[in-house]
């Protein structure tokens, strides 16, 4: 199982029945593939649908029905199409139970940077700032290191997405919860030791006695 699949499978366990969930583009969108059959949720795509469904069969795509990455999708029974004001009203207004987003850096305060690398990559924040500022629960799903460089750092050097403590970091090596006291290591990845997580993490980790191995169903 590759790193991204481990992450997606673990994040899927955070989603429970009846939630409204927004998955970011890329790795976060893989989470939808690993939801248990008995978990019934609505996925929101911020471009304007509640009840995002799978990609339609070849040749049956509707050019007016896409996800926030521009990919063709379907709408599940009970779906609703909405305009951008309603979509972001849901996000900021406390109606979105969870968002799962990718990350460039997360720091010891639990602050996320994921929208630009000055001088290199300026894609724009899109909906990310609203999602992090507004969603009831924010999970960052990312590989633990970028080409060997730790992404979990004492303080973000990249511009922040929001000055809000995110709720959970899930990587292929660890599940980490930002708290008032700092970053608490909750779980280690399959076959990963606490020491390996520490050496791949630039920020201090609080390790309590009950660190378990990540369930990856």
């Amino acid at each position: 199982m590759n790193a991204k699949e481990i992450i997606a499978r673990r994040v899927a366990l955070e989603i429970s029945d009846g939630m409204l969930v927004n998955l970011g583009i890329g790795l976060p969108s893989m989470v939808a593939n690993y939801l248990p059959d008995d978990v019934d949720v609505f996925f929101q795509a911020e471009n304007g649908v509640i009840g995002l469904g799978a990609r339609p069969p070849e040749g049956m795509e509707d050019p007016d029905l896409t996800d926030a990455g521009g990919g063709f999708v379907t709408a599940v029974p009970g779906a609703a199409s909405i305009d951008s004001a309603m979509s972001f009203g849901l996000i900021r207004g406390g109606h979105l139970d969870m968002t799962v987003l990718g990350g460039l850096q997360v720091d010891a305060r639990g602050y996320l940077a994921n929208w630009m690398v000055p001088g290199k990559m300026v894609p724009g924040m899109g909906g990310a700032m609203d999602l992090v500022a507004g969603a009831n629960r924010v999970i960052v799903a990312m590989v633990h290191s970028a080409k060997g460089a730790p992404k979990i750092v004492p303080e973000c050097t990249l511009p922040l997405t929001a000055a809000r403590r995110i709720d959970l970091i899930v990587t292929e090596m660890a599940v980490i919860e930002p708290t008032d006291a700092g970053l608490v290591l909750r779980e280690v990845g399959p076959g990963v030791t606490v020491e390996q997580v520490r050496s791949a993490t630039a920020a201090d980790l609080i390790v309590e006695s009950d660190v378990s191995e990540m369930p990856v169903p």
């Binding site: 004001a85 700032m129 609203d130 507004g134």
Partner: protein
């Protein structure tokens, strides 16, 4: 007093004539999200005409060859006020070279600023962007212990709107994820030009399905070929 319900019927405007109305340097609100729900015929006519220097307010600049990406490629955009340019390398190059100014605005803030401009509000207070580069140069306001940014309204000289269908009175109905910024922008343009896929008789769009009342629409483009 009698109420005949005789709201004026629109005349169908040719797309080239609509493009002729728009002067150099105009501020254009353009609907769409990655070119879904973008008035493509109107954009093609603007490219064909070649007058530019526009300030574009939109969710994004799409991709080269699609939607607003065609205006960027043609060099008609002086400034873009958008939330995302990640899928248009041309916009990024022109921003870095200084050929185009790009003002990045969080997506939810952008739509509410346009809504504020369209509904007569003096601005929006939002927590989005607090503590980030978006906060720079902006007034913060504390309400009940929470900090918000004061974000100012946006209006445009023209709003270019794409709709699934219009009726003869200009009432608009939208399709699925092609709503996006369109119904909001239809409030905030001094002149509103709507490009429907099809135009249907009055009554074919039930009142409950109308998202943009025809009174907001100044020009209705003729149907596509």
């Amino acid at each position: 007093m009698t109420c005949t319900g005789d709201a004026p019927m629109k005349t169908a405007t040719k797309v080239a004539e609509a493009a002729e109305m728009i002067p150099e340097g105009a501020v254009l609100l353009i609907g769409g999200f990655m070119a879904v729900g973008t008035p493509e015929r109107m954009i093609d006519a603007l490219v064909a005409r070649g007058v530019g220097g526009f300030t574009i307010v939109a969710n994004d600049t799409a991709m080269p060859g699609h939607g607003i990406g065609k205006l960027v490629s043609a060099g008609l955009v002086a400034k873009a006020v958008v939330s995302h340019i990640g899928l248009n390398p041309e916009t990024q190059q022109k921003m870095i070279s200084g050929e185009m100014e790009v003002d990045l605005v969080p997506q939810g803030t952008l739509v509410e600023r346009i809504r504020a401009g369209g509904v007569g509000l003096g601005g929006v207070l939002t927590a989005t962007g607090v503590g980030t580069p978006v906060e720079e140069g902006k007034q913060t306001v504390e309400i009940d212990g929470k900090t918000y940014l004061l974000e100012k309204p946006i209006r445009g000289d023209y709003a270019l709107i794409a709709a699934r269908q219009a009726d003869y009175k200009g009432n608009l109905e939208y399709a699925l994820t092609a709503h996006n910024f369109n119904p909001i922008m239809a409030l905030a343009g001094a002149t509103v030009i709507a490009e429907p896929h099809v135009i249907v008789p009055v009554g074919a769009i039930p009142p409950d399905a109308v998202k943009t009342p025809g009174v907001l629409v100044d020009h209705l483009l003729e149907r596509g070929q």
